[in-house]
Symmetry: C2
Subunit: 335 residues, 2 copies
Amino acid sequence: MGIENKKWILKERPSGLVKDSDFELVTESLPEIQEGEILLENMYLSFDPTQRGWLNDVPGYLPPVQIGEVVRSGGIGRVLESKNADYKVGDLTFGFVGWQTHCITKPEADDRFRVVPELLPIPTMLNVMGTTGITAYYGLLELGEPKPGETVLVSGAAGATGSVVVQLAKLKGCHVIGIAGGKEKCDWLKEVGVDDVIDYKNSNVHEELPKVAKNGVDVYFDNVGGKILETVLYLININARILLCGGISSGYDATRPPDGPNNLFSLIIKRATMQGFLVLDYLSRSQPALEEIATWVLEGKLQHREDIQEGIENCPQTLNRLFTGENKGKQLLKI
Amino acid sequence: MGIENKKWILKERPSGLVKDSDFELVTESLPEIQEGEILLENMYLSFDPTQRGWLNDVPGYLPPVQIGEVVRSGGIGRVLESKNADYKVGDLTFGFVGWQTHCITKPEADDRFRVVPELLPIPTMLNVMGTTGITAYYGLLELGEPKPGETVLVSGAAGATGSVVVQLAKLKGCHVIGIAGGKEKCDWLKEVGVDDVIDYKNSNVHEELPKVAKNGVDVYFDNVGGKILETVLYLININARILLCGGISSGYDATRPPDGPNNLFSLIIKRATMQGFLVLDYLSRSQPALEEIATWVLEGKLQHREDIQEGIENCPQTLNRLFTGENKGKQLLKI
């Protein structure tokens, strides 16, 4: 008799925040693994805003999750059985393990599964050394090219990616402005050294931003999308770099998003660049980033925090936390 | 007694299209020129959409024209008198000569005045070898990096910049789609080799564009701004480059422009870049571009046409032609 797997499959496509009834929690008995396959016991699941987009029937950078399929999600599991020479029983493995307690997969060379060294606690690795950290590292340092003394503005600054971005910007000698929702998140940002913090839930960003961005904005790392961009476009300096990393406020839901900024013309006047990017393009060369990030974490230069929910039955509600802003730091779920 | 100069000065700031009464045509007697100065007899004035922006009281990449000042405009004049060693009587000189029949200036090393060789007729030089050609050259070739077989889309394709862009893209082996207004302009675009032409005045761009951009859009050279961008964002390929060169439809007038595209999120999914640029940043290194453009013109590989109005009294109405779309090719005025 095989091992029992509990998995969430997509039942119908959600609209807005997800409901438990959009999915079904199914129990199945797993088959024997085949040549080349591994069996993982999933330990922690990672929740990222982009997962919500995969549930829509819209072509994207990855195919939509199909009705009846297990919900796609990153995570870390431990190898229980292996018929693959690259994976040993006991190896910690990162990959698209899905919303389930176990995962059978045949990792390929070009696949996104990889064995991770047990350098740091698993939640830490899923946070700063997972896609979140790699996103922040390449997005800010390679595309944003922040220079000492420049002003770096970050939206979603207390989120998983944003909180790494603000700290990397400080490490590079920049003046850093973070936008986040609520006193608790804003206090945490001040603790980790952010120079100016704007609480979008308790103040008017469009009025506050010009007051703190006294020298304009050189780099805007946008994790949320939406109307803040319009205000920022009035404040950018010559040769500013705007990095579009996420669109929590508009892009992941299938409903029609609000209109965009009416002042893209500012990109011309300021010879500025707006660039979208996906961490997937950087994963294959992420090793130097991971080593540098690990060093910063071990030296205490990079603070991080994880919001850990528990229990496979709580997957749908845990995803919603990213969109309601309830999560404090990187959203994870311990199985 | 000095030479008589007729000049248009700004009387009040216009709203929308300009009216003659926003300006005043003044006749003055010119003083003797001072050490370092030159006196030009202006021959042709160049009209560009950006000139309309200089009339608004809005900080831009150049200071606004002040009330009582002569209206700023590029053009070519011939040196009548010179007390500057770098300029000889008879030299053709390009620079911000202004809406006037004569111009006294003290050209500085970092100034935008320069002597131009009499290689081609003056209108041709003001067109393809003026800022228009340099804009097209650096914007498309250096920032857009078009590769053979890629699809290049150009709005305002029959305009001064656009008509050079489409031909450079063809010279680089691209599939070129041009958007222009009216049958006459569209026919001309087909004559110069544009693969697909969309007449925005007689068809629906949002419906037509997906039909002709069958392989998506790799480079969008946007000369007009506005809502076409939203449609293009649905069609861009991975690593697409969007170049913002102008905003005739929105950015030059001081009235509130319409909202922007609601799908900037597409820049993330497609890892695409949107970049604004100004030709001013390229003028100091424009020599290689000018030499290459001159070769193409002399070899008959680069078609061009100029729309030449006449008479200093017609400056204001000539500017409006750019915004009503009346101009056929580069808008000039012969004094």
